[in-house]
């Protein structure tokens, strides 16, 4: 069992990293560990557990800003925000059950470090778009900060963007500040039943081009729709294309009606209201269709130009024999494949070569994640920049080495 440091203050954390730098001892950076089985496996001998740096240090609802330690559970933050009718706009997923762990274990540090965003990403932006500033310790053992607590800020490089999605390989964050937004007064979802992939793709593209500010556009083939806990979806017996609308009540009612009349001419439609709507989009967000207990198939998260999504999905299903569904208006494909040796990574990446995009192996046995490129391999020019950036923060490679790419 690896030895674990669990600093209780930012100073202790800095001391621990400074020691690791001096001794050139790699550290595995961890919060709650709910995403430990995502990414390339760590082979660091020692663990730096930042879960003790927790708690909300600033929340000003009228300023739309919240600061908290990295170990702060997302559940705590979401509850605090909900009390003031606000939310994290990027809808961070809870991938615990998908990864074989508990639900509700994720932290703010983990969500930001992995740049994970839910279905609202297509309207509200990703976690990186709501990450305003941070304090951290670099792989030089130095405390530094970037950004601030205001939304509009161009003072110096936007290092928050680099930290977000860096998987703990650039710095260990000790405090994070995010932008929050009001929760919508009303949420509804228009369901279109029975579309095949091509028709679904066309309907999703059409929905994205309306002025109705759709905040979720997804498509579940019949087999996956059947597994939903929402009866309107599971009982449909057909594929379900879903379009979410959020906002003030009169506006939501108007926009749902408009979408149904524009997109529902040829198929049967239905509407999900508040609670069913929330439950349905949580299922998509948390990849529940592939999270059943005992399901050990490999899971890919694939980002493509939205219009290509339906076609790429069909090609992937045909090529792998797996199952898949679409989110982000077609721009996000969740795919599961029964391929315990190589996760069919060549087939998957070949399928997105033409439209462009990237594929990330989210769930796979450890040996597969060690052998197969988990993240999309970068072009050589970009790879050189990534190495340069890594070296600028962590020249001795002590922070989560190899967690994203073998050479980083």
């Amino acid at each position: 069992m690896a030895e674990s440091f669990r600093p209780e203050t930012p100073d202790q954390l800095r001391d621990a990293v400074a020691w690791a730098v001096a001794e050139e001892i790699p550290l595995e950076i961890m919060c709650a560990g709910s995403k430990r089985s995502m990414g390339r496996p760590s082979n660091a001998e020692r663990r730096l557990d930042v879960s003790a740096l927790r708690g909300i240090t600033l929340y000003e609802p009228e300023e739309l800003v919240l600061s908290a330690g990295p170990g702060t559970p997302l559940a705590d933050i979401e509850q605090t925000l909900a009390e003031r009718r606000q939310q994290l706009p990027f809808e961070p997923p809870d991938l615990g059950p998908l990864l074989g762990g508990a639900a509700g274990a994720g932290t703010l540090g983990g969500a930001i470090a992995c740049n994970l965003s839910g279905p609202r990403r297509l309207k509200a932006g990703a976690s990186r778009d709501h990450f305003l500033g941070f304090s951290a310790v670099s792989g030089r053992g130095e405390a530094f900060k970037s950004g601030g607590r205001v939304v509009k800020n161009v003072t110096g490089y936007d290092l928050s963007k680099l930290m977000c999605g860096s998987w703990g390989t650039l710095g260990v964050m000790t405090l994070l500040t995010v932008k929050v937004l009001p929760a919508p007064e009303s949420i509804r979802t228009v369901l279109l039943f029975g579309h095949g992939p091509a028709e679904a793709g066309a309907a999703m593209t059409a929905a994205m081009k309306t002025p109705y500010e759709v905040s979720g556009v997804a498509h579940l083939p019949a087999g996956l729709a059947a597994g939903s806990a929402v009866s309107h979806v599971s009982g449909a017996g057909r594929a379900v294309t879903a379009i979410r609308v959020e906002g003030p009540s009169p506006s939501v009612a108007y926009r749902c009606a408009a979408l149904r009349s524009q997109l529902g001419a040829l198929v049967e439609t239905e509407e999900l209201h508040s609670r069913n709507s929330v439950r349905f989009w949580s299922e998509l967000r948390d990849v529940s269709p592939f999270a059943a207990a005992g399901d050990a198939r490999c899971v890919w998260r694939i980002s493509v130009p939205p219009k290509s999504g339906a076609q790429v999905m069909q090609r992937l299903i045909a090529g792998t024999g797996g199952e898949a569904y679409l989110d982000w208006g077609g721009g996000l494909i969740w795919l599961t494949v029964d391929a315990p040796v190589d996760a069919m990574h060549e087939t998957v990446r070949a399928a997105i070569a033409a439209p462009g995009g990237h594929a990330t192996l989210i769930r796979a046995p450890e040996p597969v994640r060690a052998a197969v490129p988990v993240f999309q391999p970068p072009e050589p020019g970009v790879a050189r920049l990534l190495r340069g950036v890594k070296e600028s923060f962590d020249p001795r490679g002590v922070l989560n080495p190899g967690r994203m790419y073998a050479e980083l």
């Binding site: 669990r6 557990d49 490089y157 081009k209 050189r384 920049l385 923060f393």
Partner: protein, 495 residues
């Protein structure tokens, strides 16, 4: 403002450098004569001027690549330039460096409505993108007030905002991909019509990097369907406290307006005298709140904002009843800068951001500073996101007034930082705020930023002298300082 010491050896090689550049860019794309260099001597921050050694205006990415490779191999500094509208001196030339102008990169390459994106060259103006997609009912959301002139390449460099960014985000939230030429001539592509490029978020890093990391030669932006309608409220208040409370009340009620702008008494009077927008003159603060979306939503929210404004002592509240009236409400705000230009020989535009709740305090301390310096100040304010634009009025022909205005401005920005805000919300650091950076950042913070620069530009040839108050050599920044023989930190809990 101290710029890096010009390299006399490079200046002496001007003819040789010009000849090499002519080998890359044929025709009239290389400018060497003093009178033809003059138009490039400053950008929108005209207090600083410096003609460059040479201006080169390439037309293709391959030319940009060859120019940068030449400069890299020959130790020639490069200042990239779009339309030259920077308000922070981001495109201020160097005596021993070339200006790389991207004005000829002015084509819209592709509009992909199905994927809601457009691929454009960096010299395309911000407004031209919205105009190109307008007929299909789309627009590009960030709208800096210079949008008729400023280019998307410059918007990337500065991470430009505008009045709509509270709801729709800054440039960084609306860019999907870039083609970038590195200082050694390598061409790299980042992102595209898909979301969230993998690896570190280089797209996010490059946006707002002020031309210090690379030269952008192609941009993919997100375009959005236009809202069905927009209406605005024009509301006066007897005090800035009341106006501030109204803004907080609107957001506290869960409403994110498309735009929410505030002006103080001097700005209201200057604007009204200039464009006769019908602004009330007996108020201390004026708010313009714009709601956009479907008509049913806009009507509903207008009603709620009206209630909140009335509860905060609103006077002379008006709601636009037509598109023409909405545009008239905005006319004064949009003309605020030239309006102030009419009542003073010169003005100096500042750009701090503060937590919104601190506005009354900041305004009253700014009034005290105004007394102290003996210079008037007018305020326009992106109230929704806390971005202040104090306009300091001065007369450059009065000896010492420019310096006094600059000191006043620096005090305002330090005040912004003191209350939890930042030095610049959307205009960039450039040369203007470079030496104030230590008010916000420690030496360790700044060194980490410069190390990132070293990863892109180890010889520090791209736009040197901007953003960072102290230039360090990359070799020096790269050293790791080790304190060996330390205890193994017995006070850190371990398992």
């Amino acid at each position: 403002m101290k710029m890096p010491e010009p390299d006399a050896a490079v200046i002496a090689r001007k003819d040789e450098i010009a000849a090499a550049l002519r080998g890359i860019v044929p025709g009239e794309g290389v400018i060497v004569n003093d009178d033809e260099l003059r138009p490039y001597e400053s950008d929108g921050l005209t207090a600083y001027r410096q003609p460059p050694l040479i201006v080169v205006l390439p037309e293709t990415t391959a030319q940009v690549s060859r120019i940068l490779r030449y400069c890299h191999d020959n130790g020639v500094k490069v200042v990239p330039r779009g339309a030259g509208t920077s308000l922070s001196g981001g495109a201020l030339p160097l005596r021993d460096g070339i200006v790389l102008g991207l004005g000829k990169f002015n084509r819209i390459l592709d509009v992909d409505y199905d994927n809601r994106c457009a691929v454009v060259q960096p010299g395309v103006t911000n407004l031209a993108i919205s105009n190109a997609v307008g007929e299909e009912g789309f627009y590009y959301a960030p709208d800096p007030s210079s949008q008729i002139a400023c280019t998307i390449g410059g918007n990337i460099a500065e991470n430009s905002g505008g009045v709509h960014c509270l709801k729709y985000g800054l440039t960084t939230n609306n860019v999907l991909g870039l083609e970038l030429v590195l200082i050694d001539g390598e061409i790299v592509r980042i992102g595209g019509p898909h979301l969230d490029a993998e690896g570190y978020d280089l797209l996010g890093l490059l946006t707002g990097s002020e031309g210090l990391l690379g030269v952008v030669t192609e941009v993919t932006v997100r375009i959005l369907p236009k809202p069905e309608t927009a209406r605005a409220l024009l509301v006066g208040f007897p005090s800035s406290e009341d106006a501030g409370a109204c803004v907080a009340g609107v957001i506290g009620a869960g409403i994110i307006p498309g735009g929410m702008e505030m002006m103080d008494r001097p700005a209201i009077h200057a604007a009204e005298d200039f464009v006769h927008a019908g602004y009330p003159l007996d108020v201390e603060a004026l708010l313009i709140v714009e709601l956009d979306g479907p008509e049913s939503e806009v009507d509903y929210l207008i009603g709620r904002v009206e209630e909140i404004a009335k509860a905060n002592n609103a006077v002379g509240l008006r709601i636009s009843q037509s598109e023409e009236e909405r545009v008239r409400f905005w006319a004064g705000r949009k003309a605020a800068f030239p309006a102030v230009g009419r009542i003073s020989p010169d003005y100096y535009c500042m750009d701090g951001t503060i937590p919104r709740g601190r506005l009354p305090e900041v305004l009253s301390r700014m009034a005290a500073l105004s007394q102290q310096y003996g210079l008037r100040v007018a305020n326009v304010f992106h109230a929704g996101d806390g971005n202040l634009h104090p306009l300091i009025l001065y007369d450059a022909n009065e000896p010492g007034e420019l310096e006094k205005a600059e000191e006043f401005g620096a005090d305002i920005l330090r005040l912004c930082v003191e209350v939890g805000g930042v030095l610049t919300g959307e205009h960039g650091v450039g040369v203007e705020k470079r030496d104030l950076m230590p008010a916000m950042f420690t030496e360790a913070d700044l060194q980490q930023q410069q190390r990132v620069k070293c990863a892109f530009d180890p010889k520090s040839l791209l736009n040197p002298g901007k953003v960072f108050p102290t230039l360090h050599r990359c070799a020096e920044l790269g050293r790791v300082h080790i304190h060996r023989g330390q205890q193994r930190f017995p006070d850190i809990p371990r398992f």
